[in-house]
């Protein structure tokens, strides 16, 4: 795949065509992981409270 990417000697627009979706995808995955972590911490806190009661 890198061969195809590097073979293009285009300008910033071609770089952007490739880079923007990749960055967006990575950000989306990162956001999903953060959300899952937050939810997991909330669930753990709820369980701790329930066991304390």
């Amino acid at each position: 795949m890198m061969r195809y990417v590097l073979a293009h000697q285009g300008g910033w627009d071609e770089i952007a065509l490739f880079a923007v979706p990749v960055v967006l995808a990575l950000l989306a995955v990162r956001w999903a992981e953060k959300r899952a972590k937050k939810r997991s911490q909330e669930e753990a806190a709820t369980m701790d409270e329930a066991s304390a009661e």
Binding site: M2, Y4, V29, A32, E33
Partner: protein, 446 residues
């Protein structure tokens, strides 16, 4: 950032792994409007988009609980089961008899068509749609019932074996199909059917009818796994209707299950690649030697099995799981079933639709004696599919199979790992899916 770097390198690696093959000029479909490489990159992008969409939109496991199934009752169910059993035994008898009484000089013969198209391809493809019809058709189960073999079930005898014997039997069957020079000889098929019958009857006598069939018969897990895609469940109690895909996560991760699915995928891949010009360029006449085919097919199984084990190892490390990579590989084995079906369908659907027509002629002359029982002996194959249509169907099948694999793996990861680790455990699995998609399309394009 380190995780992202790992993720990126896995994905780039999975595409790059295909580059040497591209360099050898695979791409026999010069008539297509866009190059094969575009299809490969496009298919990979579809998988990555699916992966990201699942990470964002699918935060809870949704497919792990069994769904409520509606039982279908009625006299016709038991009648259909009996008809299925009769078809199975007649088919087996047909393969043996027509093989033994083979005229010897026929190019069209019902035994190879029955075995390699009807039995090996049509039954699983129908099972994926309407449930496990093999359960009713299986002639060896019927023979066991008729002759009271294996009435006492002894599951403890196969507990540690799982379906490893069936995995070996599947490899042996595909070896007969793809490597043996006599795979098209009716007499060979008749002998193989008799040997396999003795093997399965022995297994049933040793472990019990259902236990023996489940562990030793290659076609029982094969059809059961593929039929789990269907919403329909067919078992001894009859028919029940649930939802598409929902039986797959319920499959018990038996010992040997991952290896079984890997063998199913690897042998089809071997079949495809060994028929390409690239393969011929690489290995020349050696590629037609039996020892070479055997080694090559084993190597395909080893490479794809190793890649899957590495994906499981990556999931274990990234998910900080207490399970071993082997246990994770077994837990996720059901996610490969779609891929096995997609590979088989993409490779062989033309065989069914085109070469399968030869059965019309063969039935008129089942013993190759120059008969014309139904007036169809002169039937010629109608090549009604254009290469473009075939290619687009193949691409759609491969991509759909892998996307389904990504969905099932994501859902299983959410159930098996902590929520904040689940997505990252699938980086290596995604890379594997992208690599298998690229490989599948390259082989088909060759």
């Amino acid at each position: 950032m380190r995780r992202i770097a790992v993720f990126g390198s896995l994905l780039v690696g999975s595409f790059a792994a295909t580059t040497p093959v591209l360099a050898h000029g695979v791409g026999g479909r010069a008539d297509l409007p866009v190059p094969t490489s575009y299809f490969i990159v496009g298919a990979g992008v579809v998988l990555i988009i699916s992966f990201v969409a699942l990470a964002v939109l699918w935060p809870e496991p949704r497919m792990q609980e069994p769904v409520e199934q509606r039982r279908v009752a009625g006299r016709w169910v038991s009648i259909a089961a009996r008809i299925g059993a009769a078809i199975g035994v007649l088919g087996l008898a047909g393969v043996v008899l027509t093989g033994v009484l083979d005229g010897g000089d026929a190019t069209l013969h019902p035994a190879p068509l029955l075995v390699w198209i009807g039995f090996w391809l049509v039954i699983p493809f129908i099972s994926a749609l309407v449930g496990n019809i093999w359960h009713a058709i299986n002639p060896w189960r019927t023979l066991g019932r008729w002759f009271d073999i294996g009435n006492e079930e002894r599951p403890e005898r196969t507990h540690s074996l799982g379906i490893w014997p069936a995995t070996v039997a599947l490899f042996a069957f595909t070896w007969l199909e793809l490597v043996s020079p006599d795979s098209g000889a009716p007499s060979t098929l008749a002998v193989a059917a008799l040997i396999y019958t003795a093997y399965l009857l022995g297994a049933m006598a040793w472990a019990g009818r259902e236990t023996g069939i489940a562990a030793f018969d290659a076609f029982t897990p094969y059809n059961r796994f593929i039929a789990s895609i269907s919403p329909v469940r067919i078992d001894d109690e009859g028919i029940a209707i649930g939802k598409w895909l929902r039986q797959l996560p319920q499959l018990e991760p038996l010992p040997g299950m991952a290896a079984f699915v890997v063998v199913a995928i690897a042998t089809v891949t071997y079949d495809g690649l060994s028929g390409t010009e690239t393969w011929e360029d690489w290995f020349g006449s050696t590629s037609r030697e039996m020892w070479f085919g055997t080694v090559a097919m084993l190597a395909f199984v080893a490479v794809i099995g190793l890649a899957y084990w590495i994906a499981a190892f990556g999931a274990q490390r990234l998910g900080q799981s207490s399970k071993s990579p082997g246990e994770i590989a077994a837990d996720f084995a059901h996610t490969l079933v779609h891929i096995a079906l997609a590979y088989a369908f993409a490779h062989y659907f033309t065989l069914i639709l085109l070469e399968g027509q030869q059965i019309v002629a063969a039935l008129s002359d089942p013993f190759a004696r120059g008969w014309d029982l139904f007036g169809t002996a002169g039937w010629r194959v109608n090549f009604f599919l254009s290469p473009e249509v075939v290619w687009y169907v193949q691409v759609a099948a491969i991509v759909a199979g892998h996307v389904a694999g990504v969905v099932l793996a994501h859902d299983r990861a959410l159930a098996d790992f902590k929520p904040d680790y689940a997505v990252r455990t699938q980086y290596a699995m995604l890379a594997l899916m992208v690599a298998l998609t690229s490989l599948g399309l390259l082989v088909l394009a060759g």
